[in-house]
């Protein structure tokens, strides 16, 4: 195992200084001379035809500089699935119809935000109401209102996966169970509301500062919707206050800011309110999941048949990816010799669901893991034993999808059981307490090029200088997860430099090398990390050549960069400082700076991802039998993320995942009435507070991912999946109430307790 100097250390993030002192500039902190403030008019109706919009009164309001509607903008639809233009179903401002409460209808730019808000009240929109649908079942009914003409049955995307022979598999099963699970929508609830500032140069080029996780995607889609050339749009990502999947598409305010900046010649800023975020923002897909699994008597899995319907809301958003992925996640964790999946993405008149941390996994794995727990009980096998029996191992092949190149799943299960004292607690907890297990596997970035990029998936440029410093340029986007730090660590390790020797410039599409698909699907560490290593290797080759020539080294010598020096391995005296080596190369190149670019695009890695992470989690709960309230007392996690680049940051990702998953399991949900979201403040959209968090203990299982940079792979996104099924099983263990429809509420538990009592009475 390689010894690291910088990688694998608890290094505080360099950007934390700026954030701790309030100096880090987020998009809404930007103020440009002459800047206008934008606001969006949104549809109050879930489904309606726009008959007429009269903006004259708004335009006449003093201080208003620009009002636009769907009639004013280029008729170009957008969506992240560029490879399949039919999936691109959205205009920046509604043109013919509105499809959810909150659909953007018009935009105003004024000299101050209050005037812009006042102007919105003066826009008169005449709607012709259309019958709405709010759930999957009604949307799929014969004769249901059609939300998009292009999808007459309201199904926009379907996906099938099949391998083995499912029917034959079930015929060999001793035990088969069928269950239907439903899971609900939740909000990303990043603390920084979306914000964007656009500026138009004299030559008509656009610069957009925006709170995004995907500057390159924004650049491309903004260019196409503005009917501009890609290179005439520059997207800069300032510090971003969290994204979690909610900031990875072109959004109407980004388009409107740029479009109105062009029209007015003045910078335009939009910042959403929390109310807008919660009432109309993207959310995690609600799903109806039918799952049938078959086992042999001894617990061996023989077949799985999975059918998932996704409630997509009014537009596709990232729904096609979620449809694709939830079927892949359904096949993960265990060895299913026969597997079949059918997924369909269904339109409804609700705010669109999009990508959210886990991207189909929290839903799909809630079903898998709950069903596994149910099967374990009926088969009379310990739930962890049953999992170990069926667990994927290194070298396993998922047909047409991937080969598992590293896997610490069984070790994770064993470690979680050991840490939590599983066997003992399972038998001897106080009344009203319970423990349960849930597991996950996740991707390290996607392979399938739905964005249809013409560039490598990740790129890095490394410049080195004779003063012993380096400059890393990458389009990878740090949105708080810490990629700037991790990539800096990787480069420091490769070049034998210290963190302070490296400057990072990231996520500016005009400056950093083309391209990077952005921060989603846990792709950055692996993909951008590999690009950094590629660039560093090219730099090192040059340095090694210069040092080798200087000391007249035998060509068989291995060389290294370490401790700020470049030298022959085993002969540290044959070498020089990093800066001197750079100077030598530069001299040899007659002044040309030493710069290298590195790239990474996953190839030959199947359809889904180059590498999978795995893990197991145990939750201990106490349930108040009178009120039904659940207290999660402790969570133990053992996970496999390959080489850990920064353990402190990885632990932060884990704890953040537990937070988000705790909300998903217990406290977060949207209360909707006829398509309208009612809980639009953090008072009633309840993310856990510091007091709600359980104790957490974790262990990292040692694995090495051959495809990853220095053996690293995904951490911190997959971890959002195991918690809900673990808590659900713990609640079942404590009360006898089995949750098949998230979230787990006190009311459902009390009803479950009453039913359990009734059942017991009947039995006795």
């Amino acid at each position: 195992m390689r010894e690291f100097s910088v990688v694998g250390k608890d290094i505080p993030r360099p950007d934390a200084w700026l954030k701790a002192t309030g100096k880090a500039v987020y998009t809404d902190d930007i103020k440009l001379p002459g800047m206008l403030y934008g606001k969006l008019l949104r549809s109050p109706l879930p489904h309606a035809r726009i008959v007429n919009i009269d903006v004259s009164k708004a335009q006449a309001l003093p201080g208003v500089k620009c009002v636009i509607t769907g009639q004013d903008i280029p008729k170009v639809k957008y969506g992240n699935w560029r490879l399949f233009p039919a999936t691109q179903d959205e205009y920046a401002l509604a043109i013919d119809k509105v499809r959810f409460v909150g659909d953007e209808v018009a935009a105003v730019a004024a000299i101050d935000p209050d005037i812009a808000a006042e102007a919105l009240q003066l826009i008169e929109v005449e709607y012709e109401e259309l019958p709405p649908v709010f759930d999957i079942e009604s949307a799929l009914k014969e004769g249901a209102p059609v939300i998009h003409e292009e999808s007459p049955n309201n199904v926009s995307v379907t996906r099938k996966i099949e391998y083995g022979d499912v029917e034959e598999g079930f015929s060999k099963a001793d035990y088969v169970r069928e269950d239907t699970f439903t899971v609900h929508a939740v909000s990303h609830a990043y603390l920084e509301p979306c914000s964007t500032v656009a500026q138009c140069d004299l030559d008509g080029r656009i610069t957009l500062w925006t709170s995004t996780q995907t500057p390159y995607i924004i650049q491309c889609l903004l260019a196409s919707t503005l009917e501009m050339r890609e290179n005439d749009v520059r997207v800069i990502k300032p510090y971003v206050g969290g994204g979690f999947g909610g900031k990875m598409e072109l959004r109407p305010w980004e388009f409107c800011a740029a479009f109105m900046a062009k029209l007015t010649g003045r910078p335009v800023k939009f910042t959403l309110t929390r109310e807008e975020e919660l009432a109309t923002g993207r959310r995690r897909h609600p799903m109806v999941i039918y799952s049938k699994v078959g086992f042999k008597k001894d617990g061996t899995l023989v077949a799985k048949d999975l059918k998932i319907s996704l409630d997509g809301g009014g537009y596709n958003s990232m729904g096609p990816t979620a449809t694709f992925l939830c079927g892949n996640f359904g096949a993960m964790l265990y060895r299913y010799p026969n597997y079949r999946f059918f997924g369909q993405h269904v339109y409804t008149n609700k705010p669109p669901a999009g990508a959210m941390r886990g991207f189909g996994a929290p839903q799909s794995l809630f079903a898998t893991e709950t069903q596994m727990n149910m099967a374990a009980e009926e088969l009379g096998i310990d739930p962890i034993e049953l999992r170990i029996k069926n667990a994927m191992v290194e070298g396993d092949v998922i047909p047409d999808v991937a080969t598992i190149s590293s896997c610490g799943f069984i070790d994770s299960l064993k470690e979680a059981a050991r840490m939590s004292n599983w066997k003992k607690k399972r038998k001897s907890l106080a009344p009203g307490e319970g423990i349960g297990v849930g597991c996950y596997s996740f991707i390290s970035g996607g392979v399938f090029n739905w964005f249809n990029t013409q560039y490598p998936f990740s790129a890095a440029e490394v410049r080195v200088f004779s003063d012993g410093t380096a400059h890393l340029l990458t389009m990878a986007s740090d949105i708080g997860q810490g990629s700037d730090t991790a990539l800096k660590q990787i480069l420091a390790e490769e070049l034998g430099l210290e963190m302070k020797d490296i400057r990072v410039t990231s996520a500016d599409t005009a400056v950093t090398p083309q391209a990077d698909l952005g921060t989603w699907g846990s792709r950055v560490t692996l993909m951008a990390g590999n690009a950094v290593i590629d660039a560093a290797k090219k730099i090192k080759e040059k340095l090694f050549g210069a040092v080798s020539a200087r000391f007249n080294l035998n060509v068989i010598y291995d060389m290294e960069c370490k401790g700020g020096r470049v030298y022959a391995k085993g002969r540290p005296d044959r070498g020089m400082s990093f800066g001197e080596a750079v100077a030598m190369v530069q001299k040899a190149q007659r002044g040309e700076p030493l710069v290298a670019r590195g790239y990474y695009t996953p190839r030959g890695k199947g359809l889904v991802t180059p590498a999978f992470s795995f893990g197991a989690q145990v939750a201990h709960v106490a349930v108040d039998q009178e009120t039904g309230k659940v207290e999660v007392k402790k969570i133990w996690t053992a996970h496999d993320c390959g080489t850990v680049i920064n353990p402190m940051a990885a632990e932060g990702q884990l704890e953040g995942s537990i937070h988000m998953a705790l909300g998903y399991a217990l406290s977060e949900q949207f209360v909707m009435d006829k398509g309208k979201t009612l809980n639009t403040t953090f008072l009633d959209y309840k993310i856990p507070a510091a007091m709600d968090m359980p104790q957490s203990k974790s262990a990292i299982v040692d694995t090495y991912e051959p495809e990853g940079p220095m053996g690293a792979k995904e951490v911190g996104e997959g971890l959002v999946s195991p918690t809900a099924p673990a808590i659900a099983e713990a609640v079942y263990h404590a009360t006898g109430y089995r949750c098949k429809d998230l979230p787990i509420t006190p009311e459902k538990i009390l009803k479950g307790l009453r039913d359990t009592k009734k059942r017991k009475r009947k039995r006795s």
């Binding site: 929390r274 109310e275 977060e668 007091m691 709600d692 006190p746 009311e747 009390l750």
Partner: protein, 291 residues
């Protein structure tokens, strides 16, 4: 989210405040901490032309205790000040506790107990325990002062018995009787830092083993905080045994008139009234016996 436009005045005396309120009538809103008022205004639920800020009226910040009169909490006394006041903690622990469980640290540093009362949310944390103590409000007007029993103050959600020109100066809580105990219990389904889905306060006075007096106050289960009078009747004059507590709790649950909203269903609220009433009575009994 911006605030709508309004005028702001900050009188320096109660008298001046009342005169302004008399002049402006319904167009003015009194602001103590503003933590409820400003949110309602941001959501467009209220659009007063003028806000009358009480910050400059020094006497309203007062919290005082006199043996024969009891506790006075001025209209501008912060939730945090009430929660941490040594006399309140010692003699009216349920009042201090309710204040300490209201919203968050920051809101408790801005909001006031009297503001919480006057906002008249059915779920207000600070009303049930004060009602259980038999608190009165002292209301000033240009013509003098009047007192009203807290339980007669509420007309409906956000609606109170105040006439034009009147200002609530503070709340007066009688000295706790010998052998009494008051408990405040609440539940929210979702988080430990959450608005109450149901709250209950119970007061018992135990004299020679019998319940000389009892009050059960239910919050968030009717348009205003209410007394569960029939449940109280089951206990008054009787021994406060576990069985009768259970019966009274079930009776209180029948007296509740809960609705379903985004915080809980009516069924759950009704069930919780019984649970919390039982817990409140048990704790109040324990306190009474220990006093």
């Amino acid at each position: 989210m911006g605030l709508p436009k309004f005028n702001y005045v900050a009188p320096e005396t109660v008298q001046e405040a009342c005169q302004i309120l008399e002049k402006l009538g319904g167009q003015a809103k009194v602001m103590a901490g503003g933590t409820d008022l400003l949110i309602k205004m941001k959501h467009g639920a209220l659009r007063p032309k003028t806000i009358v800020g009480l910050r400059k009226i020094k006497e309203l910040r007062k919290i005082s205790f006199r043996k024969n009169q009891g506790l006075f909490i001025g209209a501008m006394a912060l939730l945090e000040e009430v929660a941490s006041h040594p006399k309140v903690k010692k003699l009216y622990p349920a009042v201090a506790y309710a204040a300490s469980q209201t919203a968050t640290v920051q809101i408790r540093n801005m909001g006031t107990v009297v503001g919480n009362i006057c906002n008249a949310a059915p779920s207000a944390d600070n009303i049930p325990s004060l009602m259980a103590f038999g608190a009165e409000l002292i209301i000033a007007s240009p013509n003098g002062e009047r007192r009203i029993l807290l339980e007669n103050f509420f007309k409906g959600p956000g609606e109170v018995n105040l006439n034009r020109g009147e200002l609530v100066k503070g709340v007066l809580v009688p000295p706790p009787p010998e052998g009494s105990g008051v408990s405040y219990q609440f539940i929210s389904q979702r988080s430990k830092v959450d608005i109450a889905a149901v709250c209950v306060a119970a007061m018992v006075v135990i004299d020679k083993g019998r319940t000389r007096d009892v009050k059960i106050v239910l919050g968030a289960v009717a348009p205003t905080p209410i007394r569960a009078l029939e449940a109280e009747g089951l206990l008054r004059g009787k021994k406060l045994a576990d069985r009768s507590i259970q019966k009274a709790a079930e009776q209180a649950s029948q007296e509740a008139r809960p609705i379903t909203d985004m915080r809980a269903t009516s069924e759950y609220r009704r069930l919780m009234v019984a649970v919390l009433t039982k817990r409140a009575l048990l704790e109040a009994r324990q306190m009474a016996l220990a006093s």
